[in-house]
Amino acid sequence: MTAVLTANGLGKRYGRRWALENCTLEIPAGQVVGLVGPNGAGKTTLMHLAVGLLTPTTGSIEVLGGRPAESPAQLGRVGFVAQETPVYESMSVADHLRFGDWLNPTWDQQVADRRIDQLGLDRSQKAGKLSGGQRAQLALTLAIAKRPELLILDEPVASLDPLARREFLQSLMEVVAEQQVSVVLSSHLVSDLERVCDYLVVLVASHVQLTGGIENLLAAHVRLTGPRSGLETLPPSLQIIEASHTDRQSTLIARVDEPILDPAWLVERINLEDLVLAYMRQIQPDASARPHLVEAHR
């Protein structure tokens, strides 16, 4: 299994603040990876490091086996759509396609044309006059028509209405089906990620809290409801992610390696949103006190 992105102790500091700290990741190829976390968690920083807009303060990052943006060829293998999908407002759609064509040797004009026609965009229209959804689709077209091996999308649907959001994701999934491209996509909307992603990275307060294949993660985590006194009977290998107690009852979200046989505990499957929220609430100010990284392999 090759990795599209490998980070080792990656960190980025601005002045005194660490935007990303001690990030160690290995994102497998051929997946749609969801990068989720609250605002300011470091998602954008990680992505900018991955496309070479930033250089690390500490640690290293490798994308598709090379240093990000180390050469024009490397830049051509990664397609990027930044937050707010920047476009040149006074340039037309057609000009943007020329932009992509002239700056990328691997540009496939047929792919670009097909998408623009399918989207029904007016080629002579200035990009500044496009709707939010259309801009996002144009930016996606620019990113994929150069036939990258990896697509990195920073909150591409954050400011879109539900219809535009759905259309964008449909478009994106079509691309994944056609082009065999790996995708890393960030969002703070977990519901979108659940349909679209197979792999998850949770980033909270500049640290990686959780990574793994979504199905495996969901299989490995349960919600336990039971008596407070029953806490002692739980297997020691069980890792409590989140716990809440009343005087008599405890509700836990935990990672389990073995089945819970004690009938005192009600064992339920957990959905992705609740799982992510549990990890997001688990803020570790002291890195050494953090439980070891949960890694689930296919």
Binding site: Y14, H48, V51, G52, L53, L54, T55, A69, S71, P72, A73, L75, G76, V78, G79, F80, A82, Q83, E84, P86, V87, Y88, E89, S90, M91, D95, R98, F99, G100, W102, L103, N104, P105, T106, A139, L142, K146
Partner: protein
Amino acid sequence: MIRLTLVQFRLQAIIVAGILVLAAILFAISGQHLYHLYNTTVAACPAGSDCSAAKDAFLNNHVILRQLLGLLLLLAPALLGIFWGAPLVAREYESGTFRLAWTQSISRGRWLLTRVALLGLASVIVAAALSLLFTWWSGPFVRITADRFNPGNFDERGVVAIGYALFAFALGLTFGVVIRRTLPAMALTLASFLAVRLAFTFLLRPHLMAPHQASMPLQSGEGLGFSPSASGITFSLGTPNIDNAWAISSKVVDSAGHTASNSALHAFMVNACPAIVSAVGSGQSTQGVNHAPADPTVFHDCILKLAQNYHLVVSYQPASRYWTFQWTEMGIYAGLSLLLAGFCYWWVRRRIA
């Protein structure tokens, strides 16, 4: 990348080209008229006779236009710097499009160099065209006034405008790259461009080559007159004009070549021109050879007496150095531009934020 830069700036290029063509036409029409007038009045005036009437009449032509055009030539480089240099990279930062541009299959260095080279070249062309047109158009005036080397006139003609344009562009680019906001970069570009130009013109240019000294009679000084001073009544005068050269400064020296101090002059005048001393002492300051209020004869007599014992030593750059100065100054500004551009190239490639 070249094609792309042309596409991205095509509107601006069309506008500027249009303005240039318009300017060329206006210059041509007006200039034809001027040259015709010159040839039929001033040039036709036979050599040896007093042509001052014809000359004055000519100089009264197009005074406002001349001043406006001169102003345009002075402003044009600054405008290029503000409108082409400052937004070049700052706009990309402000609108976030640098995140689009710098993730395409092109290195940042090449992206920047291509844009800078193309727009720099365009700036050179605009500056050169305007400068050429104005130099030709104002030719007759300068032939009469013979002051093309003076600060102000020097800056508006010849090749220096090319250096100024490059420098303003590079300055704008640098501020835009470092500050990343277009409007503040524009403001800073204007302010620092003016500061550097003023400093260079008045502090550096006089010393680009060691000036020559020439002895000239006292009467060649501009605006001779008598006035009170701390050491008593003295006389003052401005630096004389030397045709087509740049007279930088002058001082009054005695026959032995020593600079005459105010007290020495006062002592001399008390001796030689007592009437003047008392006239000025009673509060009537007499300025200028032609404006002696009380008694022109006494005034002239005093000057004559002074001239027998004192003369002017003028520090100047000879007319033959005009083009050396033009090319040198252009070269210095162009060199500064290259340094700034090199700095920007290095700065942009650092991936800090």
